[in-house]
Every structure is written in C-alpha cells, then in structure tokens.
Subunit: 249 residues, 2 copies
C-alpha cells in the first residue's frame, strides 16, 4: 500500500469545492474517480491539506492517498491527469511518501493569495480570478490594517459562524498587501486558518482601503469576538491556495 | 458627431474573434450592440487597431467610433460596460478623440504577449490563457532564435497564406523571451504585424527551445519566403494584444 503525495492545481469555478459530495463536481471526487481506475475500481480516499470552499482555486494544494499497487510517482501523475480530462484540475507533482505522511495533520504552514481588481470597469481577461471592487483602494491603509491582525489572536470575529475548529485562537504569520500590475494582492500565511478567515480578513481590509475603517476599528473587531463585528466575507473567486509546508525530512 | 477612443479588454475564448459576423459572438458585434443603445438604435461602426482572431485575448486593444450625441467619456465607458454584461469584455478607458483620430491607421506600435506553460501536467488555474507545451524549453535557445527575427525582413514565411497585407516586409522592433513564474512569455512589438505573424514566430521559437532548430534554421526559414518553411502556428489562446501606441498630441 504505497502512499502518494500530490500537489494539485485547479480552477475552483468548475467545482463545488474540494470535498466529495453526491451529484456535484468536486475536486476530491474528480481525483478519486481517476485514482480508482489505478486501484482496481476501489476508492482511494484522498486527504487534503485544505478543504477549499466552492469557487476557491489552488496552485499548490497538497493531498495524499494510498494505492493497492506500486506505481512510479510519474506514472501516477500522468495517469491521473489523463483520466481527469477535460476538467480544469491538474496533478503537478507526485512523490512517494512515507506511510506516516498525512497531508492535513502534518502541514505546518498554509499560504493563500487573494487577488483584487479595484477599478470601475469589470474584469474581462482575469474574470473569475479576481474580486472586482469598483473603487480605488488605499494600499497603505490596507497595510496598516493588516499589521494589527498579525500574530496570535482570538479570531472569533474572523471565522464563519459554521466554523468547526475547536479553538478560535490562531497565529497569523504573514499578511502582505501589495500592488501587482493593475491588481492588489493580499498574501496570508499561517500554520492553519479558521473557516473563511482569509476571506473575512480581506473583506475587512477592503473597508480599510476605502478609508472607512482605521486599524483601531480592526482591533475593536478582534476584541468583540463575534462574527458581525468584522467586515463582510470577500468572494471565493479571488482566493487561491498557493502552497503548503511540511517539516523537512 | 463626437469621436470616442476606447481601450478594450476581453477574454478571447468567448468570442469568434474581433470582427462582426452574423450568428457568432464577436467583440466588435458585442460592443456595437451596446453602442447602438446610446445612439438611438443606429449602428456606430467600431474601428480597431488590431482585428484579433478567434480565441485571441486583449488587455489593451484600442478602437474608436462616433456617436450622434455628446456624452462624457466616463458616461460612454460605464454605459457600454453595463449593456455588455455578462460578456467577458470591458471598456477600461474612454477619451474624446479629435475627429481625425483613427485607431487602425494612426497606430504606430502594437504590443503582444504570448504565454507558454511548458510542463507535462496540463494547465488548470491558467487554462485558456496559455499554450500548453509538454516539454521543457530552453529559454536561451529561444532568445538566440528571436534575435535573428528582429529588424526589417520579408516575413512571407511567417504569415498566414490568407494574409492580405500588400507587402510582406515588416520591421520587428522587439521580441523578448523570459521566464515569468512557471511560464515562458514572448513579447513582440512592431508598427504592425502580418496575419498570424506572432503565432508563427512563437511556433518557430518553440522548435528552437526544444533544440530542434538553430538560429541558422530560422534565417533559412526567412530566406525561403514560403509559409511551409517556418514553424507551425501557435494556438490563439496563448496570445494577448496588450497595447497600441499613437503619436503624441
């Protein structure tokens, strides 16, 4: 029963999220259907570092599964990609992992990028990959707002009400805001995130960028420890899971 | 009859090219249908700097048209964008142009970007925006090939057989090849290009990048002055018209 570690890229707009469910295309379901063809028709259960929501993209999702038979890593990569055509999901890397490797429980860092297009005309070339905000945003004000979110906090105000994490306390290691061509990118890194945490942080930073919220308002939102105290949830289509870290060796 | 100059962005995959034709969605037809609503139902004929082929994208196409009534530039921009929803085309800028301005005949520079994803797994996040080449390419070899195409040449071997330009002699001002993240970008600039010229140059540079063609082979292709002597035409989906230059003032 060799264990395979996969790096996965997908266009989230084509899927009802990561997690397998009946009657809707999901990333997990699509990969598992391809994997079953390498596994004598038996389901090979896929475990992902981050079970992304409907519409969220990935360029560096990590997942693992076990197969009954020994295949080379490259054979698994190419066979999965072949069987998943024409769905917009690609296995970009495969390696054979030790039997104790777990994509979700052993992840020590997760990295997300959020893309914003702040202009009055709608996106056309980047449609489906950016959040369209119709007013210019002040990047410096967004940076000042991001600075107060860094570090260890009770992020209750920044998680979905249906979030099932045991603790709302998380450590945010990085939250950068920068211009990227015509877009504004927000990049976030942490060991793990609460449900919708990145999207609620971005929705709140937008208020800072519009001049409506000061850093003190964001501190007050943290202190309130209730979802309604923070900004709205930014839409899924701007968000991409770009990478996951594991301990060396 | 004020004249308006437009900058246009579009996702070429949604259109059968720029030029209006019956029964197929085109960029020109989509914008003209919106413009007619500002013009008492009368067609306002749109003239573009480059009549891009089916599947080719734009972030900086330029076009002009005349309207019967005086509107502000911003009113024209916003009304066109409103009436074109949900098609993936956006008017990103509008200005009022002098009556002698002509988007096609006065253009003195056109700029294209071609995006290549050279890896065995298919594109997923960038699907429809890149040419998927399944082998690694040698960027230095592509640069050496590009260098011999620079300058003024008879580009007969690098134009579509149906190209209707009077002369095959063109001056290529810029042809840069560089890594852009995981992609390879080829950027080309000239006063004007022959039909399919950028795509045939890219298809030929791919042969250089695979080690199959030397710069001497590309010189021989130019000298042969027949289409079959150059490489294949790279697909439309990797190509974007990024900008058009006009004389100052």
């Amino acid at each position: 029963m060799p264990r395979y570690r996969l790096t996965v890229e997908y266009d989230g707009s084509a899927f009802q999220g990561w997690q397998a469910q009946d009657g809707a295309p999901t990333v997990q379901g699509t990969i598992e259907a391809a994997a079953a063809r390498l596994n004598g028709g038996v389901r090979a259960v896929l475990h992902a570092a981050g079970r992304t929501d409907a519409g969220v993209h990935a360029t560096g999702q990590v997942a693992h599964f076990d197969l009954e038979k020994d295949y080379s890593a490259l054979a698994v990569r190419d066979a999965l990609n072949f069987h998943m055509k024409p769905m917009p999901v690609a296995i970009t890397e495969v390696s054979i992992a030790p039997p104790e490797f777990h994509a979700r429980f052993q992840a020590i860092g997760r990295h997300y990028r959020y893309r914003i297009l702040a202009r009055r005309p709608p996106p056309a070339y980047t449609v489906g990959r950016v959040w369209h905000v119709t007013r210019a945003l002040d990047i410096e004000a967004m940076r000042a707002g991001a600075a107060v979110l860094l570090g260890t906090h009770d992020f209750t105000s920044f998680r979905a009400t249906e979030c099932q994490a045991k603790s709302p306390v998380k450590t945010l290691d990085r939250l950068e805001v920068f211009a990227a061509g015509e877009e504004i990118h927000v990049e976030a890194s942490a060991r793990s995130f609460l449900h919708h945490q990145v999207r609620i942080m971005v929705g709140t930073l937008r208020l800072a960028g519009e001049g409506k919220w000061t850093p003190a308002d964001i501190i007050a939102a943290l202190d309130a420890r209730k979802r309604a105290a923070a900004g709205p949830t930014a839409p899924a289509e701007g968000l991409t899971l770009t990478g996951v870290d594991y301990p060396a060796g």
